[in-house]
Symmetry: none
Subunit: 200 residues, 4 copies
DNA sequence: TATGAATGAGGATTCATTCAT
DNA sequence: AATGAATGAATCCTCATTCAT
């Protein structure tokens, strides 16, 4: 797919991916042009296409890279830890990602909203399996009486929805909250919400 | 903007708006073509442009129509009703909208994710004012000890995030839950979540 | 070509021709649209096409009507009148036409500049013959010593050029002269010029 | 606006401008198509648009270039020269331009006739100022008794009108004069006319 | 590695004209 | 005599991609 040799190659690839993230996350795949990406990456269009064979290739590379980061926190959930703390830590990590990597979140959101044409398989495969595992863990905790009984799927969706909202709907959130930084108070709210929902 | 006379006009306009909703909600504004909309509406491209002067006009008409429906439930919140019931009813309405009007939700999400270029003003104006009002109501309830103290802004965001997630991330939700209809269990979860968060 | 029956028909035909003159004289044939003409004439597009079968037909009708008015003053030149007075009267009539029918002049100019695709034959036929006649008259006058010897063709061109300039280059003339009405002083200038050129 | 580097760029730009002059001068702005220009320039349409961003840009570039050439002779008028000779030299230069650059003249005429939408400002600014200066010079000459008293504005218009007529109304002039080259006799006529008008 | 040049396939929109009523 | 509806053929312009160097 992408070249992976000298320093300059790596530098340019990184620049392209970063630029691609900027552009694709804002305008979506079809709404973005190679020119935008190339300009932002400081390269000429043909030179950009020397590193990635097509617009699609850049986008796909971004998505692939993104997916790993996306799934990773879920894998870190420890069935032997304290249930409430574990879930709250997971939510916290997701919120941090929304704060520090909002473009990634929006890129992902864009892809899903449009029907996940490029990552549908991952969703139905790896992600589904992962969530199933997590679901088992949560169900185990509930059966053991260590958390309130909850539908594990919807619990996971809730954490995703709430945390990603601050990245994906950033414009709306800030339009409503004005100059107050949403993240200053969001964590507290999330904490409270989960604790209420889960604590026995 | 749009003609508004005879039967055939109304019929075609409606067909165009419906087709536009289909297409725009899936591909976003830039990712959609007039051809797609025209074909789906059963019209030729120039004939479609006989009813709406441009691609943008269709999109704008959809957004405008959508925004009203979007803001309306919030206005229905009754400060003299039972706090928990009022908020749960609101959440329920939002969830119903996600279930029955998922395309509208995705169209809206698309617009917001891309920076709300066309409705930024509404967000900062009418929506912000509305949420501020609601925030006052919620704060009043909390101060009166009728619900647990919560950050009203984040409470509203949470309700939005969770309910809209089922429409906007529909593909992902279904990829994970398989053949089970998410909405069958979502309401129960939402109910439980809000009751835990709010009941004193 | 055009219907010619009832009052209403005549009224509408006249309205169309007048509107066509307005539009065509400003934007040229290709630069004008039937819609512009129809709107200005207070008719619907299809109704306009009920009276004239095509855009071209309106334009042609205008040109034809115009040509007569255009050639007519030349025919009025009287070989038995006073040479200088005759020529000055002719020039005066042309100047008056520029003042009172500038659109007609511009329509004509447009057509000629673009190579006279529609009236080339008239130019090479009727107009040429007319000018030849006039040329004979002028030459006769010169030979009789009643005016200074001049090239009759260029004399005619000069009269055309100078008088039509005030209509065709109206914008430029007014840009340069500011609020002063060019026609107030133009006639005097024209008079002087011709008298100097022609008087023995 | 236009690239300005390598040989091939200069070559293609020149080809485009030349083709644009051909086409625009004949059909006007709206009546011309990019395709016509591209074909005449020996380029594909998108390749043409690689050099100029739009149809308008080509036209504007032509007009800008043209305007300089257009104003220049006027600046050359020398208040310290012999009045009649200076004015006749100016007229001669204008006539030469009509002979050798008729397309430029027609392009200009087209623009003015249609209301000078793109150069109205230049007309009201630079051109007006220039003519005002020239007007002062001519008035000075007249007051000094070195030429007959004339309205300087109309004198200038007359020179413009008569000389440009041979370019702008070329088709008509040739239709009337047949095979005789108008320019062979035009200069003589112009000379005579100005001398009669101006000599004391 | 890098870029200037070129192009085919769209894609939005315009517009003269036709059709049905 | 009039109009609402419809369309095919342009026409301007964009853009991913290729080619030559």
């Amino acid at each position: 797919m992408a070249k992976s040799g000298t320093r300059i190659q790596k530098k340019n690839q990184a620049a392209i991916l970063e630029a691609g993230l900027d552009v694709f996350s804002q305008f979506g795949f079809r709404g973005s042009t190679i020119d935008q990406v190339a300009t932002k990456a400081g390269l000429s269009k043909p030179n950009l296409l020397y590193y990635f064979p097509s617009k699609e290739a850049i986008y796909t590379a971004l998505l692939a890279q993104l997916l790993e980061d996306w799934l990773e926190p879920l894998k870190a959930l420890d069935r032997d830890g304290d249930p409430v703390e574990e879930l709250m830590a997971y939510a916290k990590r997701k919120l941090d990602m929304s704060q520090h990597y909002p473009k990634e979140s929006r890129l992902f959101a864009n892809e899903i909203i449009q029907g996940a044409p490029r990552i549908g398989d991952v969703l139905k495969g790896e992600l589904r399996a992962l969530v199933e595992e997590v679901s088992d863990v949560i169900n185990g905790w509930a059966e053991a009486g260590r958390i309130r009984p909850v539908n594990p799927y919807h619990l996971v969706f809730t954490i995703w929805a709430v945390t990603q909202h601050y990245a994906d709907f950033d414009v709306q959130v800030r339009a409503i909250m004005g100059d107050v930084d949403p993240f200053d108070s969001a964590e507290r709210h999330l904490d409270d919400m989960l604790r209420q929902m889960l604590s026995v």
